[in-house]
Symmetry: C2
Subunit: 243 residues, 2 copies
């Protein structure tokens, strides 16, 4: 994948939500980047580290997670091509959570210094990236609700709808089906449930003709049923410039 393929997904997203002109695009695309291939589960940055670059996802998925007192892990977010999962490290020097690859992926590391300079010189890009970190926060808020208020069945349905909605925007869905290489144990860590319970909930969703999970691929069997299994309102994703 060449550099234009790497920056295309994020520029598309930024353009959809902020004023970005051609010069902004060119400036962003000419940032220095180091491309790196990562394998499933591979560490990208970890708690306590002070990264000097941000990572832009060119292909594949990334997760952010935190280890809690008892040794259990809580997944905080899943990220897809076009996301910069550790953009916050530009201004928060020490990582307060881990970033790991989910499945094999391709990452473009952008050093902080030139990125900071770009932000200073191009207000539009600053605004767009700032907004990006704000939608990130909006997603965290919804996750607090998910984990705090819903039962596991509804939590999982909500998570699937979130992933599906975001993947659809970047054209990585196949109708009602999409690749997403997470195990049931990982879904458990994301919704705050044990892997055993996730297994039971997945079967329930399958038996109800709602969803099919199999080997890294999720298929929505009945979108209406899926939506009625939870209360998913995409407003919090702020997908539109007007939102």
């Amino acid at each position: 994948m060449d550099k234009s393929g790497v920056v295309a997904p994020i520029l598309q997203r930024l353009k959809a939500t902020a004023d970005i002109d051609q010069e902004d695009e060119r400036a962003f695309a000419s940032l220095p980047m180091t491309i790196r291939r990562v394998s499933d589960g591979q560490k990208i940055v970890a708690v306590g580290e002070r990264p000097s670059a941000c990572c832009l996802i060119a292909d594949g998925f990334v997760l952010r997670a935190k280890v809690v007192g008892d040794g259990n892990r809580q997944i905080l977010a899943f990220h897809q091509p076009g996301d910069i999962p550790d953009l916050q490290s530009l201004f928060l020097n020490v990582m307060d959570h881990d970033v790991n690859a989910l499945g094999a992926g391709l990452l473009a590391f952008i050093p902080h210094d030139p990125l900071r300079q770009l932000i200073k010189s191009r207000t539009n890009i600053a605004t767009a990236l700032w907004r990006d970190t704000l939608t990130d926060a909006a997603m965290f808020r919804e996750w607090i609700c998910n984990v705090g208020q819903r039962v596991a069945y509804s939590r999982l349905a909500h998570l699937v709808l979130e992933i599906y909605t975001r993947l659809k925007v970047i054209g990585r869905t196949d109708g009602l089906s999409f690749n997403f290489p997470a195990t049931q144990a990982l879904f458990g860590e994301a919704i705050g449930a044990s892997s055993v319970h996730v297994s039971r909930v997945v079967q329930e969703l399958r038996n109800n003709g709602v969803l099919e999970f199999s080997r890294g691929r999720i298929t929505i069997l009945d979108e209406a049923k899926l939506r009625s299994a939870t209360d998913f309102d995409p407003l919090y994703l702020h997908l539109d410039a007007s939102l």
Copy 2:
């Protein structure tokens, strides 16, 4: 309270975490502001609205919350003097959650337009405010862990330590005691537990000689016990410029 009293707490915080010079301070302090007194529980902004101003807390507390499908409410954050709880509305046009007063308070509303202009003209302030929204997100991440992984006893201990730590920074604690006008039902909405269960947990904390809750005042009876009741690491608050 005059205007300098209103902006002092936030300027103090911004200076602690970013490069802010005297000119930045003066520019911030000369922003137009409308001071408004609010009473307990009063709505400040609500889901779906498009605010045209941000609210800076001069005195009192504010909470952010979201109503989930079943009609239950999840509290997302508590805010204290010096915070701008809806700063994200500068770039996310539609509110995805509610902001309400917690106890009586004094708010300074800063219109978006002059604030946006200040951000464009003064990079330091832009960086400082951006960083502010990033620590906000870091706190949301920790709340996901709190609600997703810990048992209620540990969840409540964690929340109390967070509030205590942040209040201490702005000098609003009285030794190991501080005012915080939340009912047990509100604590329940914050940690994703029923008010009945919060009552039981509060009693347990009291009987163990850890904490005392009474009429809007929290007293830490034994800080070591409180810390050993949960796994609180203030790193995620990014209180220091080096973090």
